[in-house]
């Protein structure tokens, strides 16, 4: 189908975009890369009165390292995450994840800010930025505020973003060195919506996790930072310890069923991902089979 009629405004600056959003409230939608918004409009799931196109705003572009912080502009496209030397060095998890987002033609348009503001529970980047302990920078006519990634996602397509606010950047500790990363997802076909996925960051000392953040996606209404990680931290991971963590994980999950997978299948896949993740990060292939039970 084709989108219903709407008005279109090409924002000339962030200030101009904020003025337009303030004037139109929730009748306006921000157009970034459009790779989720346009399908929703073409399917008539959304019919905004006004599109505020921020696509041309140079002030929302670019990746930079300031002090120990990696700052990624909202308009950074998925293909830019794949190409950026700064991302490869300081947040390689984002690069790994971006390769799983849809297909090349989509990655050439879709943006980091758009993906986060859209908050699809099956998408990769929300889980990654939660794992990376990122902060989302949001601007309103009254000024700027910063929201922890872990507080930003509120449900399916729901975030802490208010209608008059614009997501302008994402900041995260530049911690490529000294950390180990894991990213894997199950999908029917490369680039399809994930059925279950896991993004992780770990610090490993002497074969033990001294820090472990496990971000599951597509297994709940928002990315889940699993508390099960605490069962694996500062202990010698044995098959029994891992089985205990997997049991904790299952209790934490509340996955939906859909035409791709039942809740039980998603719980199972999340456990498989957990075992693979721990086995890969600790270089202990013996842990992957979960043979202790």
């Amino acid at each position: 189908m084709k989108a219903a009629a709407f008005a279109y405004a090409r924002a000339t600056s962030v200030v101009n975009a904020l003025e337009l959003l303030a004037a139109h409230g929730d009748k306006a939608k921000v157009l970034s890369g459009g790779q989720s918004l346009m399908p929703a409009m073409n399917l008539r799931l959304l019919s905004p009165d006004l599109l505020v196109d921020i696509g041309g705003l140079a002030e929302l572009q670019g990746v930079a390292v300031k002090g120990g912080t990696l700052v990624i502009g909202a308009l950074t496209r998925h293909v830019d995450l794949l190409r950026s030397a700064e991302v490869a060095l300081h947040a390689p998890l984002l690069r790994e994840a971006a390769a799983h987002i849809a297909h090349p033609a989509i990655r050439n348009r879709g943006t980091l800010g758009g993906s986060l503001a859209h908050a699809d529970p099956a998408s990769e980047l929300p889980a990654c930025i939660a794992v990376l302990d990122a902060t989302i920078v949001v601007r309103a006519p009254s000024g700027e505020r910063r929201i922890a990634a872990t507080e930003f996602f509120k449900g399916i397509y729901e975030t802490a973003l208010l209608p008059q606010e614009l997501l302008v950047a994402v900041e995260m500790p530049a911690r490529g060195k000294g950390s180990a990363f894991f990213f894997q997802e199950y999908a029917r076909r490369h680039g399809d919506y994930a059925i279950a996925g896991l993004a992780a960051r770990a610090t490993i000392d002497d074969g033990r996790f001294s820090d472990l953040r496990l971000g599951f996606f597509a297994v709940g209404d928002r990315p889940l930072l699993a508390a099960a990680a605490s069962k694996l931290t500062n202990v010698s991971v044995t098959p029994t310890v891992l089985a205990d963590a997997a049991a904790t994980l299952v209790d934490e999950l509340d996955p939906q069923g859909d035409q791709q997978a039942s809740p039980a299948m998603r719980r199972h896949l999340a456990q498989v991902l957990l075992r693979r993740c721990v086995a890969a990060l600790l270089a202990r292939p013996d842990l992957e089979t979960g043979a202790a039970q």
Binding site: A3, Q35, M38, L51, P104, A105, R109, R189, H190
Partner: protein
């Protein structure tokens, strides 16, 4: 602002001015307004890849882009790539290997395959499949398409060696 808006853009190298409604997709603009019907419209929500074109040198879904968003951009369609001869060898390989049947996906396949071959001169079959993963073909079962892309890659590598 629901009223038509002016856009200026390059279409296959030629400057063009037009006045379009905001809701008009770039795919429909190319097909309906400019009669460049090589760009096909399949699903209209970014899944099938039949509407793939190049914007400023990069492949995009023209069903997920508005004509007004293309203001100032350089658009290349299958007509442009075909007329310039850029994909002539790829087209010949598709024909030779029966990599098309109904032809609906073919313009998108050719543009996407050419995009891969520009980035990665001799991709293996897995890389070809991955790059084409966003383009549906309901006739061929993909084997012949992968064959044609692989054969073109090898032939080009042989020529430049």
């Amino acid at each position: 602002m629901i009223a038509p808006m002016p856009v200026s853009l390059l279409i296959n190298g030629e400057p063009m001015d037009a006045v379009v409604l905001p809701r008009l997709s770039l795919a429909d603009f190319l097909r309906e307004n400019l009669k460049l019907t090589g760009t096909h419209v399949g699903c209209e929500h970014g899944v099938c890849g039949a509407c793939t074109i190049r914007v400023d040198g990069e492949i995009v879904r023209s069903c997920l882009m508005l004509a007004v968003q293309a203001h100032g951009a350089s658009i290349e369609t299958i007509e442009g790539l075909s007329d310039s001869g850029e994909v002539a060898d790829l087209q010949a390989a598709f024909r030779q290997r029966n990599a098309l049947q109904c032809g609906y996906c073919t313009p998108g396949m050719l543009i996407t395959a050419q995009d891969l071959l520009k980035q990665s001169p001799v991709p293996d079959r897995a890389a070809i499949r991955q790059h084409l993963s966003g383009n549906y073909c309901r006739c061929t079962g993909y084997q012949a398409i992968v064959d044609a892309v692989e054969a073109t890659a090898k032939a080009r590598a042989g020529r430049s060696a």
